[in-house]
């Protein structure tokens, strides 16, 4: 009897939320939020802002190596996060060393569309978040008692609430097909006998992102992403670990490159590793460097892109903490940072470039703000920064660039499609000729062309830590160059290895001598880790840099000083 009754209640549940406004998830968020705004602890303040976000995701991940599948894992989860702000836009519980967001409930989030259970989840999570918010703001106030605040910026900026409910399309994905495709591609990577270690990975994300705020915003946006990542490595005779990687991405599950194209590029990756094993070491070089095609975009992504977001230092108790890395461009608005014939624009609204979908396009950021095209550098002069709803210094309003979760209760800013444009250009051939001309004048035996940087890095965490810890490195060292060639006056090229750039940072971009008339699109998945190291962190943002090849003067390459492990005693197993 009771069983039948309960089953009936369950069957009726959809009808109930149906009346509440269509989407059961947004309905539950809206109804629970209305109630939650009245939450109050004794005489402490009520919330002034509540935000509910939820990712309804299906993620398929498979790994394979040398023709053998390592795992194929379909995962389905719903990850709600709850933010409660108490105080006011001017002063709240964030931007304090003890601030954190994304309170969870003690119960699991419902995978079924259950309005009632989701409300229950949000009720418990909001209660936790509110209790933590009132305690945090009290500690923040106490910390400020004995200090003169240096940053008078408000803690949060208001926005016009966005209501944008996109339809959720059918997002079909053939797991079995991709599993076997990955297995075959992994055999391609391992086919080169010089490559001793290789790994292939596919991930397909089908997500619907929901956002509701007490300001009235309601957002539902479907997000689809697929990538295939291939990595290969081997030890050179002197023990140095050589590696290369290739990544394919798409915002359309059905628009990945064909197998033949992926195979070709994966085989090329393994060939690169094999060639690097035999390449001589570049001991030292000082002079002009040509960053060709994607290498120029990789350079901009790191030395400019990462510095376009500002860091806000949190309130810290006296004598505690510190050492928050700040942007190299902080305080340089109005200063020239590039040649006057260069502009940089971030335009997430541009969906296509030369008939191909742009990877960094998005219509609404994590905070429910719609981005528009933003001129960051005009005629070489820094004009703007990438901003979120967390004010920094004198920058008060968001420009819709909240792309990754950040620290101390806020999100991090990042770009979408970064266009690096030059109004004075030359052909690729002329660019190289210009470099050789400089070499000739300075009596240098060769110039240097860089075709690929290790970014996002395929290094292991240990290796990345070693690179970061290299003596003489800056606080934000550039990732290692992977494909570096000496170019001799007769046009001959020679691959070299084992060198890194010294002192190459945002200031070096002023020394750009010339740009090519070709633009190249470099797509990558950004994350908050150094060198956006592959597989780090649980958050990713899709980005693209569109840039020409660039010639930069006076760069310094130096040999990486390091002890390398001996080669294995046992030779690698041969293919059967």
């Amino acid at each position: 009897m009771s069983r039948a009754l309960l089953a009936l209640a369950l069957a009726l549940a959809p009808a109930v939320f149906g009346q509440a406004g269509g989407d059961p998830i947004l309905g539950a968020m809206r109804d629970e939020m209305r109630r939650a705004l009245g939450i109050q602890f004794d005489n402490l303040e009520k919330p002034y802002y509540i935000e509910y976000a939820l990712d309804d995701a299906r993620i398929f991940t498979a790994l394979a190596s040398a023709g053998g599948l390592i795992s194929a894992t379909p995962a389905r989860f719903r990850a709600p996060s709850v933010q409660v702000r108490v105080g006011s836009y001017q002063f709240d519980n964030t931007n304090y060393i003890g601030s954190g967001f994304g309170q969870r409930s003690e119960m699991g989030a419902p995978l079924d569309d259950s309005y009632a259970v989701l409300r229950r989840y949000l009720w418990l999570a909001t209660d936790n978040a509110y209790k933590s918010a009132v305690q945090t703001i009290a500690r923040k106030r106490a910390a400020l008692k004995n200090m003169t605040p240096t940053d008078a910026a408000p803690d949060f900026s208001a926005v016009k609430p966005l209501r944008r409910l996109e339809p959720v399309p059918v997002m079909a994905f053939d797991e079995a097909l991709w599993t076997s495709r990955l297995r075959s591609l992994s055999a391609v990577a391992a086919a080169n006998p010089s490559v001793t270690n290789s790994l292939l990975e596919v991930q397909a994300v089908r997500n619907v992102h929901y956002l509701a705020t007490s300001e009235g915003a309601e957002v539902r946006s479907p997000e689809v992403l697929i990538y295939v990542r291939a990595r290969a490595s081997a030890q050179a005779p002197d023990g140095m670990l050589m590696r290369d990687a290739v990544v394919f991405h798409s915002l359309d599950l059905n628009a990945m490159p064909a197998d033949a194209e992926m195979s070709r590029q994966i085989a090329a990756m393994s060939d690169n590793v094999a060639a690097l094993l035999r390449a001589p070491i570049e001991e030292a070089y000082n002079g002009p460097v040509l960053f060709e095609a994607q290498a120029a975009a990789q350079l901009f992504a790191q030395v400019l892109g990462r510095n376009l977001a500002l860091t806000r230092k949190p309130v810290v108790e006296q004598g505690r903490g510190g050492g928050f890395a700040s942007s190299e461009l902080e305080g340089r608005i109005g200063a020239r940072i590039l040649p006057e014939w260069m502009d940089v624009i971030d335009d997430p609204t541009q969906k296509e470039f030369r008939g191909r979908r742009l990877f960094g396009a998005y219509s609404v950021d994590m905070e429910g703000v719609e981005p528009s095209a933003l001129t960051l550098v005009e005629k070489g002069v820094l004009k703007n920064f990438l901003l979120t709803r967390r004010p920094v210094k004198t920058y008060r309003a968001s420009n819709g660039r909240a792309r990754l979760p950040g620290s101390f209760g806020a999100n991090s800013a990042g770009f979408g499609n970064l266009f690096v444009r030059a109004s004075e250009t030359v052909t690729e051939a002329a660019l190289k000729a210009q470099m050789m001309e400089i070499c000739k004048t300075r009596e240098k035996p060769y110039g240097i062309v860089v075709r690929k940087l290790d970014f996002p890095s395929s290094a292991s965490f240990d290796e990345a830590r070693r690179i970061l810890g290299q003596p003489g490195g800056s606080s934000q060292p550039l990732s290692l160059p992977l494909l570096v060639y000496r170019v001799f006056p007769d046009g001959r090229e020679q691959l070299v290895r084992g060198a890194r750039f010294k002192g190459l940072n945002a200031r070096s971009l002023k020394d750009i001598l010339a740009a090519s008339d070709q633009s190249y699109v470099f797509e990558y998945l950004d994350n908050p880790a150094p060198f956006a190291i592959m597989g780090a962190g649980s958050s990713l943002s899709e980005t693209a840099v569109i840039a020409p090849s660039l010639l930069i003067d006076d760069l310094e390459l130096q040999k990486i000083e390091q002890e390398y492990p001996k080669l294995p005693v046992v030779p690698p197993p041969a293919a059967p």
Binding site: L10, G21, I39, I70, A72, P110, D112, R120, N197
Partner: protein
């Protein structure tokens, strides 16, 4: 019929694992021979032992709360553990250096396809990595031996055992996913009748584990078993902020052996009613006095205070408390108690035991080990790491993939010759309360687990965490449920105080976490009457219960 079953399996896991390629064991043996031969010839120091273990886990998990699924996942994984011993049996890279434990293996993920090249590559890479750290540690040990005083126990580092050859793969993994999903949805709705419960969950987990092992001594093993488990849990918060939780679980080898709905429903109601009772129960005051530990509680009691102290490797580690190291042949428990560890025992009555296996993780065959006979300590739980007077393994070297083997417990079985009926045991408790002039005693009904420290640096103490505890009054008043109690004590003092046991054995199935990771174990014991136990207050959250009442659907917007 068979085709359908396979097709469904293929749908859940779109893989063709184990379906093509040469047998894993063969690939492992070939690559082992190749690596060992070259290392013996060219490496210095040379290895004298190499083994590979691949643990294959096929898992399925589903969980639900209040009629909706909250988790559903599963998959196939294989993990590789590599053991290389360099030096000699007398002194090798695993030698314990004053508390510094060796850790070489990584539990690296390895191909689930039987593609030889994929498997060989990973075996080779891991052999190289493991060899490097093994050789490095041996050199350090040799230096350390020269500068430190001689060790008390100079036993060898690795025992000589017969290499086992045995192939008995476990039955294929079967899990009726959609059926379990709807069962869990339905069952989890039972909690909806208890508005005072803040969160609740019912989950099912099924796992089939296959272990493939080869060693240069000649071991060739392919064996495994299934695990299935239902866990019911509920959580609430008392007005004073104390977090309260109750739970129950069922274990079986195969999901089909898990209980039917009515039995699960009864357990859910018990978990919910217990929690409801706890919300209104008085908080305990610190207490010393007599108590009955149910078979369930007593199993955990023995596991913690006794089981962890008779693990062989602790007897030669000079940072360990070594409570029983020199007690072999002497009484350590009352003479009416015997303790047997029996990994070959699969059931007690109708209950599947969680701690059984055919071979341990060093490839040694499982066997029953009588640890205590009539109160006298006979031996220790042994892995292949010998200790003084015990040169051989008794099949208790265990680990979770990615960890190094140490001696661990299996199925702990407490046997008693002073048995009385449960009603009589209770009368004896009341008599004891009166005799000691105490206002009340305790009945520890259900426990969630416990922990203990065995290290000399720590306190030689244990804690058992009860979920359901009653105060028993000598004047005939009904038993009173109380909350916030932890059971604490020290091992040697506790054993002497066991007065009698009941005649009915209860089983606690669970997972034990220690140096070598989590391993499945059981503890089966009759209820015991203890002259004196100590109850202390549990640490408590300062957070209040939710400020707003639970949402109801009538509050929805329009």
């Amino acid at each position: 019929m068979r085709v359908t079953a396979l097709a469904r399996c293929a749908l859940l896991f779109p893989l063709s694992f184990s379906l093509y390629g040469q047998p894993v064991l063969e690939t492992m043996a070939n690559e082992m021979d190749r690596n060992f031969r070259v290392l013996r010839e060219k490496a210095d120091p040379a290895p004298y032992y190499l083994s590979y273990t691949i643990t294959e886990e096929v898992t399925d998990t589903a969980a639900a709360t209040l009629g909706t699924l909250t988790a559903r996942h599963g998959g196939v994984n294989r993990y590789l553990d590599t053991t290389i011993r360099v030096g000699s049996r007398k002194l090798d890279n695993y030698h314990r250096v004053r508390g510094d434990r060796a850790h070489f293996t990584s539990g690296a993920p390895i191909a689930i396809d039987n593609t030889p090249l994929a498997i060989q590559r990973r075996l080779w890479l891991e052999t190289d990595r493991t060899y490097r750290s093994a050789a490095e540690r041996l050199i350090n040990i040799r230096t350390n031996k020269q500068v430190k005083v001689a060790e008390e126990d100079d036993s060898d580092d690795f025992s000589v055992e017969t290499a086992a050859v045995h192939r008995a793969p476990p039955p294929r993994h079967k899990f009726a996913g959609p059926e379990w999903e709807s069962r869990l949805r339905r069952l989890s709705l039972e909690f909806a009748k208890f508005p005072e419960i803040l969160s609740s969950q019912i989950s099912v987990n099924a796992q089939t584990e296959t272990k493939y092992m080869v060693s240069t001594e000649g071991a060739r093993l392919e064996h495994g078993r299934g695990f299935a488990r239902i866990v019911i849990s509920a959580h609430a918060k008392a007005v004073d902020g104390m977090d309260l939780g109750t739970s129950d679980s069922f274990e079986a080898v195969d999901p089909s052996g898990l209980p039917p709905d009515d039995k699960i429903r009864a357990a859910i109601l018990r978990v919910a009613e217990d929690l409801k009772g706890l919300l209104h129960a008085p908080v305990v005051e610190p207490f010393v006095g007599p108590a009955i530990l149910s078979g369930h509680a007593s199993g955990v009691f023995f596991h913690e205070i006794f089981g962890h102290r008779i693990e062989g490797h602790r007897q030669k580690d000079e940072t360990e408390g070594q409570t029983f190291t020199k007690s072999v042949g002497q009484p350590v428990l009352p003479e009416f108690l015997s303790v047997l560890f029996d990994p070959t025992r699969r059931k007690i009555g109708t209950v599947d035991l969680n701690g059984w296996y055919d071979f341990d993780d060093e490839g040694v065959a499982a066997r029953p080990v009588p640890l205590i006979e009539n109160g006298i300590l006979k031996t220790f739980l042994m892995s292949r790491s010998p200790i003084r007077n015990f040169a051989q393994s008794n099949g208790h070297g265990r680990r979770q993939p990615g960890q190094e083997v140490v001696s661990r417990q299996s199925n702990l079985l407490v046997e008693s010759s002073r048995k009385v009926a449960e009603t009589r045991l209770r009368e004896m408790l009341v008599e004891e309360i009166r005799k000691q002039g105490k206002p009340y005693g305790f009945q520890i009904q259900r426990v969630t687990g416990g922990f203990t420290t065995t290290s000399r640096m720590g306190l030689q103490a244990f804690k058992v965490i009860p979920l359901v505890v009653y105060r028993v009054y000598p004047d005939g008043r009904p038993d009173e449920l109380v909350r916030g109690a932890d059971l604490v004590g020290t091992p040697l003092a506790s054993f002497a105080k066991i007065l009698a046991t009941s005649d009915r054995v209860d089983v606690f199935n669970g997972y034990c976490g220690a140096e070598s990771g989590n391993v499945p174990v059981s503890a089966a014991s009759p209820a015991i009457l203890v002259r004196e136990i100590e109850i202390e207050k549990k640490a408590k959250s300062q957070d209040r219960p939710p400020l707003l009442p639970a949402p109801t659907e009538t509050e929805s917007s329009r």
